[in-house]
Symmetry: C2
Subunit: 119 residues, 2 copies
DNA sequence: CTAGAACCTGACACCAATGTCAGATTCAAG
DNA sequence: CTTGAATCTGACATTGGTGTCAGGTTCTAG
């Protein structure tokens, strides 16, 4: 598929898709004229990338991580180096703290919302 | 307490504390010479602010939200307006999605970490 | 009184993903 | 072939919280 369709299906702007490519997180074949041609699996990949961004990983980490992920198409996955594992473990801890924070904030919002609802 | 101690105790830079004040999220008495003097409750407040930032709320929303929060010192809290409640409800939904995303990303990391650990 | 630590304001820089625009090229349908 | 939609590259702007520096003032221990 081409970039327009990928953008529509993933809800990610074309701008961002090109950015992902430049960062090495996403690759595409090219038509003779130079237009990008994506495989079906790109949809899942882009969604994964977005999730990882949302989790606070920078593109550099994601670049390292992606080849180690079991893609939905079951492609062969690279084994993470010990060094990468260390980094990812730290990221995991950070994500845990993030989730805890979010839950506290959600509780705070719930309190305020509830207090406004009931006299 | 003064800004240095507050910064140390909350792990938030003095720079950020001054910024919070300028945005109207944090107030402080002033000494005759102009130095900020914070009450003990400021510690909790700053931590709350950080959590809300981490949850993706912008300072403007936080400004509206703060007076509606039951402070740890049990101060009188303002009732959220219906309009604010609507906005906060949307934020709450966003936080829920965020948590779901984070959990998926954490699972992804776990998979990669586990795959690297076991041959 | 004094020295050094702490604080003040204001300004500029940064980050990293994304938005946006311009001008040129390619694609696909008629 | 033509034409309009889609895509290309490259450049500049934005965002919002934070870092950092400069130059000056205030505080406090001795």
């Amino acid at each position: 598929m081409r970039i327009g369709e990928l953008a529509r299906r993933t809800n990610v702007s074309e701008r961002s898709l090109r950015y992902y490519e430049k960062q090495g997180m996403l690759t595409a074949e090219r038509t003779p004229g130079g237009h990008r041609e994506y495989p079906e699996a790109a949809v899942d990949r882009v969604i994964r990338i977005q999730e990882l961004f949302a989790a606070g990983l920078c593109s550099e980490k994601i670049v390292q991580l992606l080849p180690c992920m079991r893609d939905t198409d079951g492609g062969p996955s690279v084994r993470a180096t010990p060094n990468l594992v260390t980094e990812l473990t730290a990221e995991r801890a950070r994500i845990d703290r993030m989730i805890a924070d979010l839950i506290r904030s959600r509780d705070t919002l719930d309190e305020v919302i509830e207090a406004a609802r009931v006299p």
